[in-house]
């Protein structure tokens, strides 16, 4: 009996388990999936919780409800991954698993500890993240109490999972504060290490005035060095100080510590893979799927969805002794909430930046790319039931590779 081991039962791990359970001969293969947390979160929903648009219970289900039968589930953290020995040691009972093929889908963690002072007296008092369930729930309470002042959004360093979420957050904050009648008592400041809010030329040309129209101050090329929780000031490495009353931070994103302990990742604990095949650059029977890998694409669920069938085909080719030939094109699809019940849709890949056009039907839509529309907002809302359906194995009929039809390339 051979062992197909999957580390992580989030979006990527679950999709891989289901696909491999269907494609592998289960008389020959045993599929094992390991995770330390029994809850499955719809992470895009974290954005809506601070504004009361989703209830916390809308975004949580149990992982077992999505994992197919015939897959052995082990609840444990990972002690060590040793690809040279084809071996993984779990923390629970120091259990050792020998594998034939390994999928690493351990995801991304936020690391506020990487910024000096971030975890000091202000953490979850007037400094919050919204990339975790706990963070977004606590931020919702803080926003309810907020009576105006300086609300600062800060991105610590790139890459972060879902790079558009901080933009969405500040647009939704603008709308939320207007509805509460305290927008005129609030300054909104967006600080980012990138050179602009929108860095791609086409997106910048179309969307560049969104900050000005909403009265949001942009602090670009801002690399945060420290947080002074006593004075409520953040400072950049080049000495720029930004005072805040409420700091909404996107802390450093990193792969899990088990990757670091095992010495098998890059400087941010991501698994280095070929960006086309998603096969490890060092060990041919190791695959990095979802946001645990280092490909230069958005770390979003849509990207994982577009990857999983291609990776499955590549793994099957590798098992059969053939060269993996399915190439992932970096396809990403994101709805960007812009407030007032509208959203922008972007569709892009490694080679093409977000452009104008329609999606998914060329020339028809119903969604408009790189434009702010109400129907795009409905698309964003439909993502949630679609996501839960996809986790249960209902096919999402969107092609993996980016289509060029109906787009102004």
């Amino acid at each position: 009996m051979k062992t197909f081991l999957i580390l992580g039962a989030g979006t990527a791990g679950t999709l891989m388990a289901r696909t491999m359970a269907r494609k592998l001969d289960l008389r020959e293969w045993k599929i094992i999936i390991v995770d330390r947390d029994e809850k499955h979160y719809y992470q895009p929903g974290f954005l809506f919780i601070p504004f009361g648009m989703y209830k916390p219970s809308d975004v949580v289900k149990t992982k077992t409800s999505f994992l197919p039968r015939h897959v052995e589930v082990i609840w444990s953290d990972i002690e060590k991954i040793e690809p040279e020995e084809n071996r993984v040691t779990l923390t629970r009972g120091k259990q050792v698993i020998q594998y034939d093929e390994l999928v690493i889908a351990t995801g991304v963690e936020i690391r506020p500890d990487q910024t000096e002072g971030m975890l000091g007296a202000g953490w979850q008092k007037n400094i919050f993240d919204f990339y975790t369930y706990a963070g977004s729930v606590k931020l919702a309470e803080a926003l309810k109490r907020f009576e105006g002042g300086r609300l600062v959004v800060n991105i610590t360093e790139m890459p972060v999972k879902c790079p558009v979420a901080p933009l969405e957050f500040i647009f939704l904050a603008d709308w939320y504060l207007r509805k509460r009648g305290i927008r005129n008592k609030t300054e909104l400041i967006y600080s980012t290490p990138l050179p602009d809010a929108f860095t791609k030329p086409r997106a910048n040309a179309k969307l560049g005035d969104m900050f000005k129209l909403r009265g949001i101050t942009l602090e670009a090329e801002y690399a945060i060095g420290s947080v002074d929780a006593g004075k409520n000031i953040i400072s950049s490495y080049d000495g720029r100080e930004i005072p805040y009353d409420l700091l909404v931070s996107v802390p450093t994103n990193m792969g899990v510590e088990a990757i670091e302990r095992s010495g098998i990742g890059d400087d941010l604990n991501y698994i280095q893979v070929d960006k086309g095949t998603l096969q490890s650059k060092r060990w041919p029977n190791v695959w990095g799927v979802g946001d645990a890998n280092n490909i230069p694409a958005s770390k979003a669920g849509s990207v994982t969805h577009f990857q999983h069938e291609l990776v499955a085909a590549n793994i099957l080719a590798h098992i059969a002794g053939k060269t993996p030939e399915e190439i992932f094109d970096g396809h990403s699809l994101c709805y960007i909430e812009s407030g007032r019940g509208k959203a922008i849709l972007i569709d892009f890949n490694y080679d093409y930046e977000p452009v104008e056009g329609t999606y998914p039907i060329p020339g028809i839509g119903p969604f408009q790319l790189l434009k702010e529309t109400t129907i795009n907002h409905w698309g964003k809302l439909i993502f949630k039931p679609m996501y839960w359906g996809m986790m249960k194995g209902i096919n999402v009929p969107l092609p993996s590779k980016m289509s060029k039809a109906g787009k102004k390339l």
Binding site: M158, P163, L194, P195, T199, K200, E221, C334, E353
Partner: protein, 101 residues
Amino acid sequence: MSSVLDKVKFDSEGFMTDPKAWTKEIGEAIAASEGMKLSARHWVVINFARKYFEENGESPTPRNITKNSDVTTKELYELFPGGPAKLAAKVSGLGKPHGCI
């Protein structure tokens, strides 16, 4: 007066369009045009950036630089004021760092 930069192609923001065409002389000349004189410490960063690019096909992030050299983040910002990832990438002949939108 002719300069080593005469034959080098740049994009509209002053980044070299072909990183492979970069030489140390070009690096010096780009730095001079930005009003910088390169010290041995600048070269630690530039040499690392070039090596990182050759191995990974992309520009290093500030974290990549500080984690793999003895340059601290604070020093990095002193060496390349107002955005080290951007200015270091420019002098090293590499592309501008981008987000996805």
